[in-house]
Homo-oligomer: 322 residues x 4
Amino acid sequence: MEEKTIAVLTSGGDAPGMNAAIRAVVRAGIFKGFRVLGVRRGYNGLIKGDLVEMNLRSVSGIIHRGGTVLYTARSPEFNTEAGMQKAIQVCRAHNILGVVVIGGDGSFRGARDLSERGYNCVGIPGTIDNDIACSDYTIGFDTAMNTAMEAVDRLRDTSQSHDRCSVVEVMGRRAGWLALRCGIAVGATSILVPEAPFDLQKDVIDRMVENQRAGKQHFVVVVAEGVGNVSEIAKEIQTRTGIESRATVLGHIQRGGSPTVTDRVVASQMGYHAVELLSKGIGNRVVAMKADKVVDYNISEALQMKKPFDFNLYQIAHDISI
Amino acid sequence: MEEKTIAVLTSGGDAPGMNAAIRAVVRAGIFKGFRVLGVRRGYNGLIKGDLVEMNLRSVSGIIHRGGTVLYTARSPEFNTEAGMQKAIQVCRAHNILGVVVIGGDGSFRGARDLSERGYNCVGIPGTIDNDIACSDYTIGFDTAMNTAMEAVDRLRDTSQSHDRCSVVEVMGRRAGWLALRCGIAVGATSILVPEAPFDLQKDVIDRMVENQRAGKQHFVVVVAEGVGNVSEIAKEIQTRTGIESRATVLGHIQRGGSPTVTDRVVASQMGYHAVELLSKGIGNRVVAMKADKVVDYNISEALQMKKPFDFNLYQIAHDISI
Amino acid sequence: MEEKTIAVLTSGGDAPGMNAAIRAVVRAGIFKGFRVLGVRRGYNGLIKGDLVEMNLRSVSGIIHRGGTVLYTARSPEFNTEAGMQKAIQVCRAHNILGVVVIGGDGSFRGARDLSERGYNCVGIPGTIDNDIACSDYTIGFDTAMNTAMEAVDRLRDTSQSHDRCSVVEVMGRRAGWLALRCGIAVGATSILVPEAPFDLQKDVIDRMVENQRAGKQHFVVVVAEGVGNVSEIAKEIQTRTGIESRATVLGHIQRGGSPTVTDRVVASQMGYHAVELLSKGIGNRVVAMKADKVVDYNISEALQMKKPFDFNLYQIAHDISI
Amino acid sequence: MEEKTIAVLTSGGDAPGMNAAIRAVVRAGIFKGFRVLGVRRGYNGLIKGDLVEMNLRSVSGIIHRGGTVLYTARSPEFNTEAGMQKAIQVCRAHNILGVVVIGGDGSFRGARDLSERGYNCVGIPGTIDNDIACSDYTIGFDTAMNTAMEAVDRLRDTSQSHDRCSVVEVMGRRAGWLALRCGIAVGATSILVPEAPFDLQKDVIDRMVENQRAGKQHFVVVVAEGVGNVSEIAKEIQTRTGIESRATVLGHIQRGGSPTVTDRVVASQMGYHAVELLSKGIGNRVVAMKADKVVDYNISEALQMKKPFDFNLYQIAHDISI
């Protein structure tokens, strides 16, 4: 008799907590009687048959590590019908019933397409930007925010010693979630995000000047990546306020590091839930957090959802920063 | 014309994030036109009139600091009518309309009693144990969990080098929330909490032996404070399994440290919400997080709520740890 | 033609940085044309022939990890002539010319005995206590100190909030190096070490009272493990001063964690130096740091050296803590 | 009778540990019977008379904080005779016998000039670059190295997940100390410093290709600030090797953060030593670490010293990274 087999892969940009999710998929899978295969380097590995047998020990000692032990990549080939067919042959050859795909929206499209061709896929949202509409939370977000916050806490020490303004770019090309929460956490004078239009004079300069009158002499401005060039913003601030201003781009350090409790726990919950779905023969779903509960959605529907920016929290940030 | 005045105090055990809450109360208060007084050392300060004027600068540079700049204490005197009356005289003398009380259930009872005597109080849940029934989340919990997790990650290094079992006591006299999430995050073989009865042989020893057969040679057992003596548990494990076992009590290090993003942000939201209530003339409420939203409850009702332990998550922890 | 082979093992208590030393031995060994074997679980592995081939990749991704990938153990059997002879047979069978032994004094005695029987051994001091006489520095010391310091920094937050005294036990059964430097770093009111006799009344109580008069209301007392029971010391302090006092035993968390720069760099230097010695046919040596330079000593001579406690630094600690 | 007074200031770029040095100066000063004044914002504060009385409590709770509570600045005015004379008048007016100057070479020149005019100054080397010739160690270096290392450890996680090369710029415009030790600590394939000429093809590209053949698929190249533009280096590496390469500039985060044990202890030792000199009527000296001992030098002689780069360690780094 053939063994029931499921596979797990990570795709797109990596995020801290992906290993915890892989571990949960493998252990929950084995617990439920599956054979579990790890696919290396995302959908490329599925196309090439770069698979590795996973057992309890192969996920031992990984829950606390950043990155992904299965590696990750983007796969343009998988978006072609030819690539998809190669992947299907690999699935068939290894008797794979279902695949857990940890990644972002692009990865979920692949999961949907494969599900529609008879191979049940379940997506798990893993991206530090928290920009997946169907889920309140995405794996990696908490770690990335804390990494960014600790870095800005360091910048504040030196800004304060020198009476300077730090203008810091944090990750988020189309989403200001990380900037918003990180900005509140570091007590930023202003937070600039792609979702909210802003006026440099009114929303940054005037606030700095007002704070300066109240005795404040060092400043932090947190800027989401998608908003624009922080060097230019810093230069403009210095010109208009006379306060020495320095730009810092935090960059890829926000992608790494040992995951926080939240990322490890949510990843474990989501990995477990994904396997439960597959064990019931259910595919074409994305696992999500909604009001602190683990739920799941049809992938196509999930991809069409919108996640409104938290303007209420943005307002609080505004009101308590002056 | 007299200035509208509110006060803020921290009471009971301290928790990381209390400073962020104080800061939000002061800044939101000033933003809404209040004069804000800080009360030192909890209700004792209210009885003695140990008050300090708070302005924007007095809460500058505190959001990232552990502990509480207002100090904290338990106040048996406040539980007497005489103590209460002294506090009321101080409130009257300083024209205090309302008080924000950051603490736990004991502190909220005081806030209710004072509210009932005409001084609006709003409670904010601050305790690392997450054991306040009305709120999904209490300030300090996330930081404490991460501190505990990092400590156990260190213990694992040395357990692994020596093929040992680490039996770790984390905080939680009556509540296993911290143990549960921390235990999942470190990949503990077993998690012992006061809410769930356990059998040492079946739930710890047998699991270790089973894991050992699968090749595992080092183990972590996470135990909530309220469950019992970890030295005895470690001794018993060593006797029954033959695996060298060491006990560690993490203790008060879990109370300190710079707060995480979550603790700083939630504290900011709750502090802001508390001031909004007072500014509308509403008292006798506890601010709470419910399904990721900031809400508030009548204090008496809040004190009678029950918070069921997350047995579902406990089961996941069980299933993926072998 | 037979390949020249060296081996590397870790022995005794583990210490952060041991992996960096293993890595340096393997890479420097390969660089110099050796085949390198890893011995698992100290001298026990040498007796049992538990050897593993090491290549560039087998030490990839370990420099930043705590613990030791080769595991460690104490080996009473190696202290017997029979055990020693078994180890010699394993060395002969695998054509091992020399062994790098990372550990403490006990491990070096084994290295000396093996060297005297014709198998060149070089010791590398690895222990968090810094209690190896011939070397100013031992691998793991810097990481352990920083771990202890961060933990006490957390304790200070909560001590300060509650006007308490924290009495903290740090590692060091016979040596107060860690307590001394950690105590200075946290601004401890008193530091108690096994090397310096003390009078609780004069050296702790009176100093606290004097500080209290100057306005200080929270205190930290750092105690080396070898000095005595911190719970009793805390109780005594509380009785005599009336200041609430709490004891914390930091314990094994000081053994783990990702090594600091110093531990990684010193381990790399020492591992490299050890291989250089072996490549010149020199054995029966201990590598050491002396006045910031890497040197080496005859093992027997090294074992008879004395390392005077730094009473000068102890005096500075005393003078600036009041 | 007039009280003997000394002053302390921080000058130039800030560095973690400066607060520990200020604290040691204040406490050792008071211990030896001095009145101690803090000068704010470096020599500018001395010119303007921006002085603050320091007591035991004013340096309480600062040993663990980054930055400098006295603020720092560069002071072009102090380099003019007019500025110098104003500072002298302030010293005379406040009966200041001597000044402890924490900073770099530029700050020491001011200290020498002031000493030559009758006001004893003692310099303490504080700069994260470790680029002060007379001293093996400068305050802030250890913290900055560890901050850089932790950031690169994070970058490695994501480089590894994606099979990429990380090219990281660390601080050091004219000095490669930080790059060298940080590079060894993270296991960098290549380390580029201003002191050592390099050939990109031979010292970076060829080594990467060789490592790739041995199975390595992710790389870290550490580059000191003074070497050149990391974006261009990354682009060049990608072009020549075909390995996706990303540049990161760590920037000012390396200046902040809570100091390590080493920085707190060395700062305490140096601050204490500086006061001892002043208490003996000795000025025009720089305190330094030499072969692990605290010594002092004539400032003019110190400014002419050369500190040879550690090419031996650079060679070790080279040999063990392939």
